[in-house]
């Protein structure tokens, strides 16, 4: 039990479960299944972008990818436009989305490396380019996704939303990458001390590049799925995921300074972020108060999680 509470991700789950209980307590359990499925679905999208962002943040101070929302928008619009509602082109669409993610990730790191721009500026300026490209291709049209995909993303298997299963699969892959492969060790070493990592013979540039690539590809996949889920790609569909991708990493107990990351916390934090809003909605709180309370609750959880680290040291 003590060991469990020493885990950095436990607090996000404690918070998520408390909020869940508080919500179904009010409704008398009537909406338990519906609420849980909605939470899992919406959390899944946050998890997908959160994992990518977490890998980038692992690389250490200053590393962040702000191009996530634009990448989602571009991947979603281009893929949907290409598939044009035809069921036979589903896989082609996915591959196109992945290629767009790969392109954005490559350009991101090219800017960071070749022009020596800090990641926060490089990815932000890249996001303007990508967003403009999305506007140019989309031209305000709303294209329907192929029926197969729309069905897949909105239905459940064994009571669990398909989207959540996809996110779970990606989480498992991310966990293995982070904890069971040399790559995971390397990026955590880079995050703790860049000079020490270099002197230990780690291929620093290669690892950083792969990480930015991975983050952009996850964002692109997320954009592809979200566009299908919501019945069409919209230019602003990624906007709320900028803050979300960072917030779930931080609340999940990953060290903001880098070098110490964990995958489970992303899930706890993503569920929590959705449940807080639905809890406050259930209580009938007004929009303004809801935003303030969301902020206060997030700060409280972060304080709890960081208090744990001080206790250990």
């Amino acid at each position: 039990m003590k060991a469990l509470f020493a885990k950095p991700w436990i607090w996000s789950f404690v918070a998520a479960v408390s909020v869940w209980l508080a919500t179904i307590g009010v409704t008398g359990g009537a909406s338990t299944v519906g609420l849980s499925q909605a939470a899992l679905t919406f959390a899944a999208f946050s998890v997908l972008v959160g994992i990518g962002q977490m890998f980038v943040i692992t690389l250490g101070p200053g590393n962040i990818d702000l191009s996530v929302p634009a990448t989602m928008a571009l991947a979603g619009t281009v893929a949907l436009k290409y598939m044009d509602g035809q069921n036979g082109l589903v896989l082609h669409g996915l591959i196109i989305a992945i290629f767009i993610g790969g392109g954005v990730g490559t350009l991101n790191y090219a800017l960071i490396k070749a022009l020596r721009i800090p990641p926060i500026i490089a990815t932000l300026s890249m996001s303007f380019v990508v967003q403009s490209a999305a506007i140019w291709t989309n031209r305000g049209l709303r294209i329907k996704p192929p029926q197969v995909l729309a069905d897949f993303t909105t239905s459940t298997s064994l009571g669990i939303p398909n989207i959540a299963l996809v996110a779970l699969l990606m989480s498992a892959v991310a966990w293995v990458l982070l904890h069971r492969t040399p790559y995971g060790r390397w990026i955590m070493a880079i995050g703790q001390s860049l000079p020490a990592a270099r002197m230990a013979g780690i291929a620093v540039d290669g690892n950083r590049f792969v990480t930015y690539l991975f983050c952009a590809i996850l964002a692109a996949i997320c954009g592809y799925l979200l566009a299908c889920f919501s019945g069409g790609a919209a230019l602003n569909m990624g906007s709320e995921y900028l803050l979300m991708s960072i917030a779930v990493v931080v609340i999940g107990g990953t060290a903001v300074a880098g070098g110490d990351s964990n995958v489970p916390g992303i899930w706890g934090a993503s569920l929590f972020m959705f449940l807080v809003v639905s809890m406050l909605n259930t209580y009938g709180v007004g929009a303004g108060v809801r935003l303030i309370m969301t902020g206060v609750i997030i700060i409280t959880v972060i304080l709890l999680a960081s208090g744990r680290k001080d206790a250990i040291r």
Binding site: T181, P182, W186, A189, A197, M199, G201, A203, D205, G206
Partner: protein
């Protein structure tokens, strides 16, 4: 003979940094009209005694007098009011301000209406006095000046007089970035200043400057004053000898290396080229900061992977500055040790826990890392044991060349002996070591030693020629071939 009271006197000063005795009961009096030449190799305590005199460092023991009165409490402000001025190796001017503005910062009394004109007059006069024909516009920003010009301004600043004349000027390596002509001008000014009753402490590795300029020479070693004579009492060779230890014993027998094949080359822009052969321990000697670390980094960068991980690295590195570029402080001892060899410890891309634990256990016994459990955090180890972990990290790779950047900093004697043994064994097994160290006895463990001065290799010593005397002689100006 009745001597005038000392401008400044430090009596029985002792400074300790942890276990290191930086100053061990040093007494030094500086009389007016005297130029003291202070020499000694790195870590002898020269900079520490300077910090004590200028008030930057309070000694744990000892007293400070000026003009016969004891100064307590003592600090930088008191020192400045007494006319103590310092020129450091690390330049201390603000690069974003003009020379005039820097003058204003240095002299607090300059304030008030029209300070720019007054500051301009003061610094220009001082520059003209020290470096006639200097060609520096005092309205310029310091940032646009060359390094030599900055050093000139810095020196002129110390000699400048804004109502409070300098009485004791401390020059710490003032000529390191000046050319010969400027250095001559400076030393001439020092002589004039001293003749007019001022006092100067001159620290320089250019022994000729010391011999020509100083009226008294003080030699420091290991935090103590080991010799003190009027300038005429030393010649160049005598000074080099006084700085070194008298008795040097051979720590281990060295092999004379035949013409075996070279595994590592680095052409140098100037001076002799660098070369290391299989199974050789090559030392990089000379005074600290004369290009040894830079060369090690150049060697490493040239061979280290940047984009793609290498299973068989060409070189591996043992850092001396553990906190800066050695350890990963969030991790266990084991993870710190295995980070350089993860490719060897994984199969089909996945890490093998068993292999990693076994590797850790092997090296724990092999170099005696003192811990109950390799899973303990790295920071639970003492500095010496952390350093052993770094050695294990490097030696467990398959790299044929090990680069070491003063790796024994802050390591206790027992650990050092253990590591020396390991290096010897590994070298006999065919590994090549390139070893930078500021400690003389470690250079004597090497098969071949390159001596650095001002970024270039100035001498190559082999076998029995590797001695403290020869290294010191080559490190200082004028004696190397």
């Amino acid at each position: 003979m009745l001597l005038p009271p000392a401008v400044f006197e430090v009596s029985d000063a002792a400074v300790r940094f942890g276990e290191v005795r930086a100053l061990d009961g040093v007494s030094l009096a500086i009389l007016p009209g005297e130029c003291i030449g202070l020499v000694g190799h790195n870590g002898a305590g020269k900079s520490t005694i300077v910090s004590v005199i200028n008030g930057g460092l309070t000694p744990q023991q000892g007293e400070i007098f000026s003009d016969g009165t004891r100064l307590a409490p003592y600090g930088i402000g008191v020192a400045r009011n007494r006319g103590v001025r310092c020129v450091f190796q690390e330049l201390s001017l603000c690069p974003n301000l003009s020379i005039i503005e820097n003058t204003r910062i240095m002299h607090r009394t300059l304030g008030g209406f029209g300070w720019r004109a007054r500051a301009r007059a003061i610094i220009a006069a001082s520059l003209d006095a020290v470096f006639p024909g200097h060609g520096i516009d005092v309205g310029d920003q310091v940032g646009v000046l060359s390094i030599a010009q900055r050093q000139m301004v810095e020196i002129a600043m110390a000699f400048s007089d804004a109502g409070q004349p300098p009485r004791l000027v401390i020059l710490d390596e003032p000529t390191s970035s000046l050319d010969a002509g400027l250095a001559t001008q400076l030393l001439a000014h020092v002589r004039r200043f001293v003749a007019a009753g001022g006092a100067v402490i001159l620290i320089s590795h250019m022994l000729n400057e010391i011999l020509e300029t100083a009226s008294r020479i003080v030699v420091m070693k290991d935090g103590k004053i080991v010799a003190e004579r009027a300038a005429g009492g030393f010649d160049h060779a005598g000074l080099v000898k006084a700085m070194g230890s008298v008795a040097t014993h051979q720590a281990t027998a060295r092999r004379s290396t035949g013409a075996s094949q070279s595994v590592l080359d680095l052409p140098m822009a100037k001076g002799q080229p660098f070369r290391a052969c299989k199974g050789e321990v090559v030392g990089l000697a000379g005074l600290g900061g004369h290009g040894q670390t830079r060369m090690l980094l150049a060697l490493f960068d040239h061979h280290a992977p940047q984009w793609w991980p290498r299973r068989d690295p060409a070189v591996t590195f043992v850092a001396g500055d553990r906190r800066e570029n050695g350890i990963f402080d969030r991790w266990s001892i084991l993870k710190n040790m295995t980070i350089a060899t993860l490719s060897d410890l994984s199969r089909r891309g996945l890490l093998q826990d068993g292999a990693e634990t076994a590797r850790g256990a092997t090296w724990k016994t092999r170099i005696e890392i003192r811990t109950a459990n390799m899973e303990n955090p790295i920071l639970s180890l003492s500095g010496g044991n952390q350093q052993k972990v770094l050695f294990a990290r490097a030696l467990s790779t398959r790299a044929p060349v090990v680069l070491m950047d003063d790796p024994m900093r802050g390591v206790d004697v027992g650990t050092k002996q253990e590591v020396y043994g390991i290096i010897r064994t590994e070298a006999e097994a065919g590994r090549t070591f390139v070893w930078y160290s500021t400690e003389m006895e470690e250079m004597q463990l090497c098969d071949r030693v390159y001596v650095f001065r001002e970024g270039v290799i100035v001498a190559e010593l082999t076998g029995d020629a590797i001695s403290e005397h020869n290294i010191l002689a080559a490190s200082f100006e004028g004696t190397a071939a």
